[in-house]
């Protein structure tokens, strides 16, 4: 392999519960891409629930303790950085590190009666000292910042030329910005850059961070249907072959529930919703079986074929155009009409 050397990097890896079930393909493709790009992942030993939605809606200290336990497991195994594919896990782990890093009220001069101290409370629940240093980063951040786009581009062997993709980040990959400290919260571009490195054509998708309604999937199906339909309509009007995601909940919502959305909106969107790691894996030339493409409800194959066919046609047309131009050149010389210059303002 030529180009910049791949990093030798070993990180703790926190899969998260979705990645063992509904999003197994995200887990599989994340591991495969990291391995191919020189990032060794070591599972957090005996990892447990991150304390996401069900816990933090009930008790912040409990949620914090659940996240802290996993960070502590990583720290005890000798890791300061934990990477996870799932934005929801990421938010839970980063929130815990953030609060644990805060000074105790006695130290920062706040009044003593401002409620229990986070670290004290978390340590009481853990029955152990809470972690001191460990913090979490997304797999997307590791790939864009630690591996880097240059290394990634030079590792691509099967570019996804011609595939038009709409990158959809979801609501929490970059937010709240103060907590996530990654990419632009309003117009993130990390996934755009990864997909561009894969050779795909990234459409300017304006709904990158709009809500897909996943959280309302159970209690208010109508809201979910309306919000998801907007995302799909916009992706279609942008001419995307696929919506590319980085969140297992968004993926399930846009993929598995497509029938519900189409039925309500009276549409027939069929565009697939792969994880960005699956497309990256394809571009890196990894075997499809290792990327879990078969786990997608809406198959990726037709989109890839359509792109390929379109690309072949374009290439053929370009060839013909080139031939025609050559023929013209040999015949009558073309008229030398240069591009008009802009008139300066008065």
């Amino acid at each position: 392999m030529s180009g910049p050397a791949l990093p030798k990097l070993t990180l703790a890896y926190y899969p998260g519960c979705s990645q063992t079930g509904t999003a197994a393909e995200y887990d599989r493709s994340s591991r495969a891409c990291c391995a191919a790009l020189g990032v060794e992942l070591v599972d957090v030993p005996d990892w447990t629930c991150c304390g996401s939605t069900p816990a933090h809606t009930v008790d912040h200290f409990l949620a914090g303790a659940l996240a802290a336990r996993n960070l502590l497991q990583a720290e005890l195994a000798g890791f300061d950085r934990v990477t996870t594919p799932c934005p929801s896990c990421l938010a839970a782990l980063r929130t815990a590190s953030h609060h644990l890093a805060e000074k105790a009220p006695a130290e920062n001069g706040a009044p003593q009666d401002s409620g229990p101290n986070y670290r004290t409370e978390v340590e009481r629940l853990l029955d152990r000292p809470a972690p001191l240093r460990a913090s979490a980063v997304s797999v997307l951040q590791v790939l864009t910042e630690d591996v880097g786009l240059e290394a990634m581009t030079s590792a691509v062997t099967r570019p996804l030329t011609g595939l038009r993709v709409a990158p959809y980040y979801g609501c929490i990959m970059n937010r709240p910005p103060g907590l996530m400290q990654f990419d632009d919260p309003e117009n993130p571009t990390a996934m755009d850059r990864v997909l561009t490195a894969c050779g795909a054509t990234v459409v300017d998708y304006p709904f990158k961070t709009e809500c897909c309604g996943a959280a309302f999937g159970m209690p208010r199906l109508d809201i979910m249907q309306r919000l998801s339909a907007r995302l799909l309509d916009m992706a279609a009007s942008c001419g995307a072959d696929a919506i590319v995601v980085a969140c297992p909940l968004c993926q399930m919502n846009l993929d598995l529930r497509r029938g519900q959305v189409n039925a309500k909106a009276g549409t027939s969107h069929t565009m697939p919703v792969p994880y960005f790691t699956q497309l990256l894996g394809l571009a890196l030339g990894l075997p499809e079986s290792g990327l879990g493409l078969d786990k997608l409800v809406l198959p990726l194959g037709p989109a890839l074929e359509a792109a390929r066919a379109r690309e072949d046609k374009r290439a053929a047309l370009a060839q013909a155009e080139l031939a025609a131009r050559a023929a013209r050149k040999n015949g009558a010389p073309a008229n030398g009409n240069g591009p008009k210059e802009n008139t300066p303002c008065a």
Binding site: E186, D204, P206, P344, C345
Partner: protein, 664 residues
């Protein structure tokens, strides 16, 4: 020595948390104190009268007043003791308001601390010596930095008052932001028509020397006698020959340069005269884009210039001027909306800034006053204005209000409806801040007479969309009065970008030795009572360099600053502060450390007859900072009024031994 002490109640400000009578009683026991009392308001006329009377009747040698900060009233009390015949430096102040009463409610400990501070002041006073000020000549000339409307107004006022004015402008022409505006609120009169004559006056005034395309390189000296170095950047055109005919502009082949006067909505040439009313109306070459400089192969302007004014070999020139005072009037820059991803972050051509829109509205702008959207040149039928872009927004570190955006947005909405009668105008706003004279009525006119739709709420997102009217922008936001989400299909979106300090403002502030806030705006000496002064004597502020300001406020502050400068320079001589460094030549070993450490260049080495060297303080340059006196390895330099013995006396008064503390 006979010392008198007065402890002030400051109404309830001090007396509420300090037992002032007890402090006065304690003070009576201090050495040399022959009289101590308390007073409701020491600074009042009766308070000062008591001080003067007591000095006379008890033949006092010095006075201590325990009250507020010396920044507040030291000068007041120094004058009072002077009236009673004492030297003004035989006075000390103990700050028991800001340093004691306002910061703690513990009356007992407050009283103890106040007593300690008075004890320190008394000990300091016992070591004080009378000091006399020297007087020096002043330069009756003023330097004004920045020639926007504030700088122009200040220059004209100072010049009319009889001062010579050195006016320095960074850009090629004077006029500032106001010269880019089409109309001004709330009168909707033509901006350049009211500014233009003033610009001409500046160009023609015999007392004003204008340096355009110039920047202040360095300022040294002190009030009355500043010396300024100005870098006159090479325009590559001899301005003494150039007639401003414009022949070079017509022939310049480099035509793709973004036009900064038109906020980049059109292009211009590498050699330019920024706008027809420019003062000075002279051409200048931008060497970063000129083909002669970048590729080394063009020379068209030199060939066509009828006055033979083009000089490609011209170099920057540094000139030195002596002035007595300085007015900073460097104005503002605008927030860069590319930081706001929700408005497209600069990706959408039809999302423009208010100043770009202003150039479109202007009859002398690139579109000759026709509103055309950048993407396709079509006339927009729906224009959405978004207020507070980069104002009152902590997420982009701009928590302050930019002051004038509400008003110019109302004006632009009115002008939109004037220019395109069948258009609709929407304004998304947080609050409408229309506090000036005639401002609220103006906003009402926009809403009622011109039917501009005001929507109270923020815009969450702008994205492109296609509809029956072609390519448009979908503006999605909240209407917080109705509690609903709103979506508007707009042809053009105008962002009311907020104000930022002018770029480079902090660097200039450091050259001028004035303070600036976290956002780069220059700090006034007192927000209410000294709004045009800075903490550096002789340096004044005018216009938006101090805080975002509209035109009326900028002009008012400019005239105020000019008034201050005229008052200052109306005297032929100024008194120097005697609180400066003094060298004891006998002790000095001539090591030169003080010379190297002095930030003002106020120390030079003098050679004695035997060839050895001694430090010498240039009295008029020394600012009394005291750095030299702590640097001196042999304690040969003492700062008058803050000598080692005076400061140690204070320290000793505070850090008494345990025995002394328990005894008293």
């Amino acid at each position: 020595m006979r010392i008198g002490v007065m402890v002030c109640h400051c109404g309830n400000n001090i007396a509420a948390t300090v037992d002032v009578e007890a402090v006065a009683a304690a003070a009576r026991e201090f050495p040399d104190v022959v009289f101590a009392t308390d007073h409701m308001y020491a600074c009042s006329d009766p308070g000062q009268g008591t001080i003067e009377q007591t000095i006379r009747s008890l033949k006092l040698d010095g006075v201590v007043v325990a009250s507020c900060s010396p920044r507040m009233h030291e000068v007041t009390f120094r004058r009072a003791v002077e009236r009673a015949g004492l030297n003004r430096y035989m006075f000390e102040m103990a700050n028991i308001r800001e340093h004691v009463a306002w910061i703690s409610l513990d009356r007992k400990r407050n009283t103890e601390k106040a007593t300690d501070l008075v004890r320190m002041a008394v000990e300091k006073l016992r070591h004080n010596r009378p000091l006399t000020a020297k007087s020096f000549e002043v330069q009756k000339r003023v330097l004004i930095i920045g020639a926007g409307v504030a700088g122009i107004q200040a220059a004209l006022d100072c010049a009319e008052g009889g001062l010579d004015v050195i006016l320095v402008e960074r850009r090629q022409s004077i006029g500032g932001v106001m010269s880019k505006l089409d109309k001004t609120f709330p009168t909707v009169d033509c901006s350049v028509c009211v500014l233009g004559p003033k610009m001409v006056d500046v160009g023609q005034h015999p007392r004003i020397t204008l340096h355009a395309l110039s920047e202040v390189e360095e300022l040294s000296g002190y009030v009355g006698n500043f010396e300024v170095k100005v870098r006159k950047k090479a325009p590559f055109v001899d301005w003494t020959k150039c007639t401003g005919c414009g022949a070079c502009l017509e022939k310049c082949p480099s035509r793709k340069v973004p036009d900064s006067h038109n906020e980049g909505i059109c292009t211009t040439t590498a050699i330019t005269i920024p706008f027809p009313q420019a003062i000075p109306k002279r051409a200048a070459i931008d060497p970063t884009v000129c083909l002669h400089f970048t590729k080394g192969k063009c020379g068209v302007c030199k060939k066509v210039c009828p006055a033979d004014a083009i000089d490609y070999d011209m170099q920057d020139e540094i000139i030195t001027e002596k002035v007595g005072a300085v007015i900073a009037a460097t104005g503002l820059d605008l927030f860069d909306h590319r930081k706001c991803g929700e408005y497209g972050g600069g990706r959408y051509p039809d999302v423009i800034t208010s100043l770009q829109y202003e150039r479109m509205l202007s009859a002398s702008g690139p579109t000759a006053g026709h509103i055309k959207r950048p993407s396709d040149g079509a006339e927009p039928k729906t224009v959405v204005f978004i207020a507070c872009v980069g104002s009152r927004d902590r997420s982009v570190d701009r928590p302050y209000c930019s002051n004038f955006c509400c008003m110019y947005t109302a004006k632009q909405a009115i002008l939109t409806r004037d220019h395109i009668p069948d258009s609709r105008a929407y304004v998304f706003y947080m609050d409408i801040r229309a506090t000036g004279k005639g401002y609220e009525e103006f906003v009402r006119r926009a809403q009622e007479e011109y039917e501009v739709q005001y929507i109270r709420g923020r815009v969450a997102q702008i994205h492109p969309t296609t509809g029956p009217d072609g390519n448009q922008l979908m503006v999605r936001g909240a209407d917080t009065l109705l509690g609903v989400q709103v979506e508007i299909r707009a042809d053009l979106v105008v962002l009311a970008v907020g104000a930022e300090s002018a770029h480079g403002a902090p660097a200039l502030a450091e050259k001028l030795r004035i303070s600036y806030d976290a956002y780069g705006f220059f700090l006034e000496s007192h927000p209410k009572l000294r709004p045009v002064e800075t903490n550096t004597v002789g340096v004044f502020l005018a216009g938006a360099c101090q805080a975002p300001k509209d035109i009326p406020a900028s002009v008012a502050q400019a005239s105020a600053a000019a008034g201050k400068v005229l008052a200052l320079l109306s005297k032929d001589k100024l008194e120097s502060d005697p609180q400066i460094a003094q060298v004891q030549t006998i002790r000095c070993i001539g090591c030169g450390k003080c010379e190297r450490t002095c930030p003002f260049g106020a120390i030079r080495m003098r050679e004695l007859r035997d060839g050895s060297k001694r430090a010498e303080v240039v009295e008029t340059v020394c600012q009394g900072c005291g750095i030299c006196s702590v640097t001196c390895p042999v304690r040969a330099i003492q700062l008058a009024h803050f000598t080692d013995s005076q400061l140690l006396a204070e320290v000793n008064a505070l850090c008494r031994t345990w025995d002394e503390t328990t005894e008293s």
